[in-house]
Each structure stands twice: as C-alpha cells, then as structure tokens.
C-alpha cells in the first residue's frame, strides 16, 4: 500500500464529505425550532431531567394554546452526559444542523460557560435557566439568565448563617471542579468576614469524590458553628452522611445545587436541620406556583424542584420574547429578551438588568423529615 493510495483514499473521502454536507437550504419554517442541552445522564442527571421536564411542560402548553406567531414550537433536546467537552459539541449541532432559533440550557455553570462562547459566536440567543456563576453571561450579549447570581446567593447564605443561625465561626467545603462552587465559596467568605464572622477552615474536594472524612475531620478540629457546603446534591448528601457519622451535628448550609429529590434519597435523616438557598419554595401559596405544581404533578407524578420551575420559566420567557420580537431573527430576538421586564414566572418576577442577569429574591429553606420547608425570603 503506497502513500499515494492512502492519500487518494483520503482525497476521495474528503470529496464525499464535501458533497455530502454542503450547506442545506434553509428549511421551510412552519415550526419554530428551539434547542435545549441538558445533562440527562451522568453525575448531575437529576438537574438535567428536572429542567428538561419543566421546559417540555411549558412548550407543550404553549403549543396546545396555538403556539407562537401562528407556528408550533419544536423543542430539540440534546444530552451532554454531564461531561466536559460535550456541551460545545451538542450546541454546535443544535445551531448548525438543526438550525434552532435559540438555545435553552444548562443548569451547571461549567457546562453553560463552555457552550456560551459558541452561541455568542454564532449569534444565537441562549438563555440559561439556572447557571448562577457570574461568568456565564459575561461571555457576550447573546447570553441571558433568568435566575439570580452567586454573589447574591453567597451573600444571602452568609447573612443567614450569621444573623439567623447566630454563627460567628464557619467552615467551608468547596468543590474545586465546579465554577459554581468556587464562586459561591468566594462570595460567602467575603460577606461572612465583612459582617464580623470568621472562616475557621477551608477544605476542598472534586466532583465525583465519595470519601470526605479527611476534610470533615479537619473541619471538626477547627470547631466551627456552621459548615457551608456549596456542592451539588450527590456530594452534598454524602458529605452530610459522613459528617453525622463522624459525630458532627452542626447545621450544614448550601445553595440551590442542593435542590433535588436525590438529596433526601441519599442522605435521609442526615440532612435534617440543614439549610439551603433556593429559587422558589413549593410552599409558596401564590397561584402561579400552586398552578404549576398541580400541572407538573399531573404529568410527571412528582413534586417539581427549582430546576424544573426554572426550566419552565426559561421557555416562557423565550416565547414571550419571540412574541414581542414578532420574528425569530436572532438580533431582534436578542433585543426582545434583553428588554424582558416584570415577567411573572413561577420563580418570581423576572426583570433582566443591563448585564443580562435576572435580579430576583431568594428563599431559604430548612430541611426536616425529608422535606424542605420555607424559612425566609431575601430580596436583592
């Protein structure tokens, strides 16, 4: 086999490739295509499945009500397997092959940070339902979010720990693999020290770890009054279990990354008496919330967590913007999303600021008996 033959084969393949994938003509537009990328499998699958369930519910409702601009909406969902490197791939597919008008996703900040530059470069608006790290929307003017950001969430929990729990010494256990966790740690520490508290121990781990006893023993020795664990639900649950095993009976505090039915499934009683900040409370008596919970229950036979609520809201905010823009032309759509103001969603009133972030109140929930109940609302 000579080199000539090798290159000939390559040339032929290249030719096939070129003819096979010349740009497809724009598909006729009797539907509006919206892309979604989510972690349907892998380490944070509970988030992806919840937000996907919420988004799907919203799109079904909108379609049943006649769609938008007289067209039905087609939601194309891609799984990124909770794996770094995949969001870039699947978002490229959504934009260039499926020709979606906008992209919804993701929950985890690291995933959104990976996909955002690709949407920005292609000029396709992206709305993240639940990525709270500030860096996400800093990627460009096509990137939006409908949730609060970590500086706010960190501040809320620091104030709550100091003022409501009366703690003056805290320990922090950070997941160094997640932008979300690192960001939250930074803002919690800043605020906690500002208002006179002291961080007595800072420990770290990586997503996927299962043994936290070394870190917890060090934390125990530092004698804090509260432990801040800005982790995602799987690790948070394991940390709670192992902390109780080591005889640490202190309250653990976390962020919205805790909100998943899996947390209670894995940790059971271990998380009783712990607190976390969240986007909405299922106990909120308002009509919008109770209505949403009833519809979600009817379809999925489960109580929606915050990710489902945010997924639901993100689809409605997008459709609302399409309606106001009167088209799905990317720039018009971007401007319409940017001017979203006073939209009443399940997770509160959504108004986007000049940095394309929503400023919304956060709620603090207390866990008892496998349920999270409402403690306080903190406005920005």
């Amino acid at each position: 086999m000579t080199l000539a033959k090798i290159l000939l084969t390559f040339g032929a393949t290249a030719l096939l490739f070129v003819t096979g994938c010349a740009k497809q003509a724009e598909t006729d537009s009797d539907v509006i295509k919206i892309g979604q990328f989510a972690s349907l499998t892998g380490g944070i699958a509970s988030f992806g499945q919840s937000s996907d369930a919420g988004t799907t519910l919203a799109i079904e409702e909108i379609n049943a009500a006649g769609g938008v601009l007289g067209k039905q909406i087609e939601l194309i969902t891609e799984d990124d397997r909770s794996t770094a490197g995949e969001p870039a791939n699947v978002v490229r597919k959504l934009i260039h092959r499926d020709k979606v008008s906008a992209v919804l996703g993701q929950v985890a900040s690291s995933m959104s940070i990976e996909a955002a530059p690709i949407c920005q470069e292609a000029g396709i608006p992206m709305i993240t339902p639940a990525s709270t790290n500030p860096e996400v929307t800093e990627k460009g003017d096509f990137i939006f979010r409908i949730c609060f950001i970590d500086p706010f969430q960190g501040k809320v929990m620091a104030k709550f720990a100091k003022e409501n729990l009366g703690a003056s010494k805290s320990a922090i256990l950070t997941d160094v693999k997640q932008d979300y966790s690192v960001g939250l740690t930074k803002y919690f520490k800043e605020t906690f020290e500002e208002i006179g508290g002291e961080v007595v121990a800072e420990q770290s781990f990586s997503s996927g770890d299962t043994d936290f006893k070394a870190q917890l023993t060090t934390i125990k020795a530092a004698d804090p009054e509260v432990i801040f664990v800005p982790a995602y639900y799987t690790e948070a649950a394991l940390i709670a279990l192992q902390a109780r095993e080591l005889g640490i009976e202190l309250p653990l505090c976390g962020g919205d990354g805790w909100d998943s039915p899996k947390l209670f499934e894995i940790a059971g009683k271990a998380v009783d008496g712990c607190y976390f900040s969240n986007h909405y409370s299922q106990e909120d008596p308002s009509e919008a919330v109770q209505d949403f919970i009833a519809k979600y229950k009817a379809k999925h036979n489960a109580v929606p967590d915050a990710m489902a609520a945010l997924g639901y809201d993100s689809a409605y905010v997008l459709v609302d913007a399409i309606k106001r823009a009167g088209s799905t032309e990317p720039e018009a759509l971007r401007d319409a999303i940017a001017t979203t103001s006073g939209y009443k969603g399940v997770t509160g009133t959504i108004t986007l600021d000049e940095n394309r972030n929503a400023s919304k109140p956060a709620v603090v929930l207390k866990i008892a008996g496998g349920k999270a109940s409402y403690v306080a609302t903190v406005a920005p």
Binding site: M1, T2, L3, A4, K5, I6, L7, T9, F10, G11, T13, A14, F17, V18, G20, C21, A22, K23, Q24, L40, T41, E78, D79, T83, A84, G85, A88, N89, V90, R92, K93, I95, H96, R97, S110, I113, E114, P117, I118, E121, A122, V176, K177, Q178, D179, V182, S206
Partner: protein, 325 residues
Amino acid sequence: MRWISEHSRTTLLIGLALAGLLQLISGNLDVYYLNIGLMAAIHVALAVSLNLVNGYTGQFSLGHAGFMAVGAYTAASLTTILPEALPAIAGLKGFSLQLWFVFSTLVGGGAAALCGFLVGMPSLRLRGDYLAIVTLGFGEIIRVFIQSSDTLGGARGLSGLPPLTSPFTCVSLAVISIYICGNLVKSTYGLGYLATRDDEIAAESVGVNTTRCKVNAFVVGAFIAGMAGSLYGHLLQYINPSQFGFLKSIEIVVLVILGGMGSTLGVSIAAVVMTFGLEQMRNLNEWRMVIYALLIIVFMIVRPQGVMGTLGVERSRTKSKRKAA
C-alpha cells in the same frame, strides 16, 4: 534522505492542496459536519502517531492523552494566558495571529516531545505491560498536575480559547502525520522500529539499538500528539483536564487496534469512521456507548487483524536483506 521518494513528496503536496481547498470552500459547508470532519482529522493524527509506538515499534503506550494535554495546555498558555500579560500578542490579527497559533502549536508539540523523551528514556527499557503501566501513570500525573494548577484553570478547565483551529491546519496535520509516519518506517532508520517489534533480542544481536529506536518512536509520536492536542483545544475552545484522562488514551488505542496495528491507512480509516459513526449515533442516546462497545467486540471477533488486515502492514525486512547480502 534517499527514503523520501519524489513520488510520496508529490502525494504530500496533493494532500496539502486538498487541505487548502477545504479551507477555501469551508465557508460554504455545514459548520456541524465541518467540525466533525476536523475532529476526525485530529483523531487521524492521534491514531497515526500512536500507531508509530503501538503498531510499528510494538510497545504498548497508554499515555497518549497525556501528551495531548501537554500540547493543548502549552499552546493555550501561549494563545490565551500570555496575551493577557503581553499586549503585543493580544493585538495580533488575521494572518499573523494564525502564524502565532502555528508557532504555539509547534511549541506545544515540542513540550509534549520533551515529556515523551523524559518519560521514555527510563521507561522504554521496560517491556510490554510494564511500559503500559508507566505511561498510564504519566498520563495521570499530567492530569492531576493540571487539575491542581490554578493558572491553568484547575479542575474547572480553561475556557475562552480563541477559535484558531482552521480546516487547513487540521487536515495538514493529518496529512503530514501520515507522511512522516509512512516514510519513517520505510527508512533504514525506521526498519529498526520494525525489527524491535518483530524480535527485540534478534534485533539487538544484529546491532540495532532498540532503546534508541523506542525512544525515537515515542518522541515523534508525542510530538504529533501534542500538536493534535493544541488543535483539539482551539477547536473546542475549552479544555478541561478530564478530557485528557485515561479514557481518551484508551479511545486512541481502540482506533489503532480497530485499524490494525501497524497499518497507517487502516488506523486513519478507523479514526475517520469512528468519529463520524459516533456522531451519527447521537440520536440513540444512552444506547450509543453500548453499541459502540458492542461494535468493538464484534469487530474484534470477526476481524482481529483490523480494517485493512495485513494489507499495508509494514514488515521488518532486516532478515530477508541479511539473507540476500
């Protein structure tokens, strides 16, 4: 330089011309397919370079992703982190920026080659399984090192790499890798690789410095892997240590085995087919990886010698030459 025949130099030029052509018409192509094509070209370079070590020289390296990581992070430091400190580089545009990227990629390859040399020198005196363990360890060290380095983004990865990987650079790298590896094993020098693989003791007894051959193959392989890593990073625009883990190394080893150890054409085909195949199977969701694994098992049972079989597999000619002499 007798072994670089005029003939194959022409084919190299044809390959480069094809790369240029692809670059020119890339604006008219579907970006999604184009990206898979570029990924396939990168995989070709990776598989062909690993084939030099695993196929031609008969060593078993499990650290190819480690070299990729070294190349990707070194190049990314030059294109992403350095410009923050040096405004002169941040101001580069257009063609000069592309040149800077090519330079960064070469530096990335060089850094990977250096690592290859440092790892290879002591460990290539080992044989078979032992080398596999050493290279496996090397890959993990690189990954953990990056993971704990904050300037390189740590475990959260480095985002914001400029999208500098072009169709021309990708296809050129693939073509040049095939050219280098294809010619190297045909050279008198490369015959040593084949001799080392076929019978190490016999090769040594006739005066082939097998350690030197192995280190050489290893360094060339690492150099190409480093450059491929740089292109990979600037194509995805995001690098994370977990992308360069043990599984990535295995993925490349699988390409080499499917293609047929020691067949440059075979592994190139395997790299292209697997890259496109895996993308096409995306709509099978969770079944994708199951089917991928099943295909490998079935293929190995039906055709253990790889896609091309013995076609194009270089054999050591030392013995026959010796007889003729």
